[in-house]
C-alpha cells in the first residue's frame, strides 16, 4: 500500500510539468509582449528604451529554455512575479483572496452533499417513485441551467422580491447562502445522478441478495451496506469537479461581487496582468491534481481493492 501511495504521488510531477509547459507555451506564443502589457496595465506611455529595459528585467532576452527553467524554479518557491497593476507580489495578492473563495467552495460542497445524498439515495432505492422522477428532473435542470442566470434568478426572487438575503457582498452567513447555492446547483445535479446510478448498480450485487436471504432488515441493508459502497463514485466526482468548482467560482463571484480568487483573476484578464493569469492557471492545475490525489487516497482507504487493482496494472 505504501508503494502505491508513493507511486501515485510521483505521477503528479510529470503532469504538473506538462501543465507548466502548456502555460509557458501559451504565454510565449501569444501576440502579447509582457513588457508592453506591463506599461499598458500601469497606464504609462513607454519609450523603446524603457521597453527594452523591462524585457531585460523580465529575462525575455534569454533563450526560451533558460526562461522556462527560471520560471519553474520561481514557481517552486511560490514566486509568481509581481502584478503589473498593483506592483505587489502576485502570491501576496492571491493569498489574501483565497479564504473568501474557499469559504464559498466549502459552503457549496456542504449544500451539495446535504441535498444530493438523501435525494440520490431515496431515488436509487425506489426506482420510478416520485422521488426518483424528481431526482431525474433535478439533475437534468441542474446540468442545463447557466449558473450566472440562476444566480440572478435567486437574487431576483430571494433578494428583490422576498428580501430574505442581501444582494451582494460578504460579512454574515446570509451573504454566503445564495452564492453557495448557485455554485452548488450543478454539483447537486451531478451527485444525485451519480449516487442514484451507483445505488441501482449495487442493488444487483450478490451481497445484497445474500443479506436479504439472511433476513436483515431492508433499511439496514440499504443504509449500512449499499450506501457505504455506493457513495464511492461520488467521492471520485468530488475530486474531478474541483476544476469545475473553480471556474464556477469565477462566474458566481462575478454575479455576487464576491471578493475572491476568481474575481481577481477576471480583473487580471481585463488588465492583461500576465503574471496573475499565469499564477491562477498553474495554481488551479496544481489544486486540481492534489485534490484528485487526496480523493484517490481516501478511496483507497474506503475500498482497499483499488490499490490491489493498481498493483496488477503496474
Amino acid at each position: 500500500m505504501a508503494t502505491y501511495v508513493f507511486k501515485r504521488i510521483i505521477t503528479i510531477v510529470p503532469i504538473f510539468l506538462i501543465a507548466t509547459l502548456i502555460t509557458f507555451g501559451m504565454i510565449n506564443l501569444s501576440p502579447v509582449d509582457p513588457a508592453e502589457a506591463y506599461f499598458a496595465a500601469a497606464h504609462i506611455q513607454a519609450t523603446d528604451e524603457a521597453l527594452e529595459q523591462k524585457r531585460h528585467e523580465f529575462g525575455l532576452d534569454q533563450p526560451l529554455l533558460i526562461q522556462y527553467v527560471n520560471t519553474l524554479i520561481k514557481i517552486c518557491q511560490f514566486d509568481f512575479g509581481i502584478s503589473y497593476v498593483t506592483n505587489k507580489p502576485v502570491w501576496e495578492e492571491i493569498s489574501a483572496r483565497i479564504p473568501a473563495t474557499i469559504q464559498l467552495t466549502i459552503g457549496s460542497l456542504l449544500i451539495a452533499i446535504f441535498v444530493s445524498v438523501p435525494i440520490g439515495f431515496l431515488a436509487g432505492i425506489k426506482k420510478n417513485s416520485g422521488m426518483d422522477h424528481f431526482s431525474r428532473f433535478l439533475s437534468f435542470i441542474g446540468a442545463s441551467i447557466p449558473s450566472f442566470w440562476l444566480g440572478y434568478l435567486f437574487i431576483f426572487f430571494f433578494s428583490v422580491k422576498l428580501d430574505l438575503f442581501p444582494v451582494e457582498g460578504t460579512g454574515t452567513w446570509k451573504h454566503l447562502i445564495l452564492p453557495s447555492l448557485t455554485l452548488a446547483f450543478p454539483l447537486i445535479a451531478l451527485y444525485t445522478r451519480l449516487l442514484r446510478a451507483s445505488i441501482l448498480e449495487n442493488l444487483q450485487e450478490s451481497y445484497v441478495l445474500f443479506a436479504r436471504t439472511r433476513g436483515i432488515h431492508e433499511m439496514a441493508i440499504m443504509g449500512k451496506h449499499v450506501l457505504r459502497i455506493a457513495i464511492s463514485p461520488m467521492i471520485t466526482g468530488l475530486g474531478m469537479n474541483l476544476g469545475n468548482l473553480l471556474t464556477g467560482a469565477i462566474i458566481v463571484e462575478a454575479v455576487f461581487s464576491w471578493p475572491g480568487f476568481g474575481r481577481y483573476f477576471l480583473e487580471a484578464i481585463f488588465n492583461r496582468d500576465v503574471p496573475v493569469i499565469q499564477a491562477y492557471v498553474l495554481l488551479a492545475a496544481g489544486l486540481f491534481l492534489i485534490s484528485n490525489l487526496i480523493v484517490d487516497l481516501i478511496q483507497m482507504f474506503i475500498d482497499p481493492r483499488i490499490s490491489r487493482k493498481g498493483r496488477q496494472f503496474q
Binding site: I15, I18, A19, I22, T23, M26, I27, S30, P31, V32, F140, I141, A143, S144, I145, P146, S147, F148, W149, Y152, L153, I155, F156, V160, L242, G243, N244, L246, T247, I250, I251, A254, V255, F265, L266, A268, I269, F270, R272, V274, I277, Q278, Y280, V281, A284, A285, F288, L289
Partner: protein, 276 residues
C-alpha cells in the same frame, strides 16, 4: 439503412419532439432578419426600457433596442458558433484520429498523450486561461473551445481506425473477401455514427452554454452584438425595475441547452452509447 434509421427515430417521441424544437430554432437562425420586428442594434433612447407593446413585443432595453429582435439575432450567434465549434472539432479530431490510429507507434503515443494532458485540465478552466492570455474576444473563445473539444472526437475516430486494423471480426470480413469500403460501410461506420451523434449533440449544448458564460463574463461576444449571455450581463443592472431583460435571454439559453441535452440523452439511450 436510412429507412431503418428513420423508423428507429420515429419510435421515440422525445427525439422527434427535440428535433422539432431544434428545427424551429434553426429556422429562426436562418430567417432572423425577416422575423425580427426591429433592428437589433439600433439605439433609440426615446424608447428605452419600454414595457411590451405592439411595436416591441418583449419591450426594450436600456438603449431602446428591441428585446425580441436581439433574442432572435442572438440565436444566430449561439447556434451558428456552436455549429462552427462542432464542425471544426470534428474535423480536427478526424484528421488527428486517423493519423494516430493509422501511424501508430510514437506518433500515436505523442498525439494521445497530448490529448490526455488536455483532458486532465478542466475544460472551461483551459478556455478561460486561454482567453486570459490571448485576450478577450469571440474568436479566442471559439478557438479555445475547439482546442479542448477535438480530443474526444480524435479518441473515438482513432478507435475506429484501430478496429479497422485489429478487430477479429474485421479481419474475418477481410479474409472472406470484403473490400475496405464494404467493411467501412457495414461494420465500422454504423459503430461510430451513434457515438459521434451523441457526442455532437451533447457538445452543442455544452458549447452554447460556455459561449454564453464567456460572453456574460465579458470575455466573449463584445457589445453591441446581440448575444444571450451578453444580454444578461447588460440586463442585470435593471433587475429591480425590468427583470424581463435578464429573464428572457436566460430562458432561451436554457431552452436550447435542455433540448440538446435531452436529445443527446435520448440518442445515447436509443443507441446504447455510454456518455462520457
Amino acid at each position: 439503412m436510412i429507412a431503418k434509421f428513420y423508423k428507429q427515430l420515429k419510435s421515440r417521441k422525445v427525439i422527434v419532439f427535440c428535433s422539432f424544437i431544434l428545427c424551429v430554432l434553426f429556422v429562426i437562425t436562418i430567417f432572423a432578419p425577416w422575423l425580427a420586428p426591429n433592428d437589433p442594434i439600433a439605439v433609440n433612447l426615446a424608447d428605452k426600457l419600454q414595457k411590451p407593446s405592439l411595436e416591441y413585443p418583449l419591450g426594450t432595453d436600456h438603449l431602446g433596442r428591441c428585446t425580441l429582435s436581439r433574442i432572435l439575432y442572438g440565436a444566430r450567434i449561439s447556434l451558428g458558433y456552436a455549429m462552427l465549434i462542432f464542425i471544426s472539432a470534428l474535423s480536427i479530431g478526424l484528421i488527428i484520429g486517423i493519423i494516430a490510429g493509422y501511424k501508430g507507434g510514437w506518433v500515436d503515443q505523442l498525439l494521445m498523450r497530448l490529448g490526455d494532458g488536455l483532458m486532465a485540465i478542466p475544460s472551461l478552466l483551459f478556455v478561460i486561461g486561454f482567453v486570459g492570455i490571448w485576450g478577450a474576444g469571440l474568436k479566442q473563445v471559439v478557438l479555445g473551445l475547439i482546442l479542448v473539444q477535438w480530443v474526444y472526437y480524435a479518441r473515438v475516430i482513432r478507435g475506429m481506425v484501430l478496429s479497422l486494423k485489429e478487430q477479429n471480426y474485421i479481419t474475418a470480413a477481410r479474409i472472406s473477401g470484403s473490400s475496405t469500403w464494404t467493411i467501412m460501410k457495414n461494420h465500422i461506420i454504423p459503430n461510430v455514427i451513434p457515438s459521434l451523434a451523441v457526442m455532437g449533440t451533447l457538445e452543442m449544448g455544452w458549447a452554447i452554454m460556455n459561449l454564453s458564460s464567456m460572453s456574460f463574463l465579458g470575455l466573449g461576444v463584445q457589445p453591441p452584438t446581440p448575444e444571450w449571455g451578453a444580454m444578461i450581463h447588460e440586463g442585470k443592472s435593471y433587475i429591480r425595475t425590468n427583470p424581463a431583460l435578464m429573464i428572457y435571454p436566460g430562458l432561451m439559453i436554457m431552452l436550447v441547452v435542455v433540448t440538446f441535452n435531452l436529445l443527446g440523452e435520448s440518442l445515447s439511450e436509443r443507441f446504447g452509447v455510454k456518455r462520457r
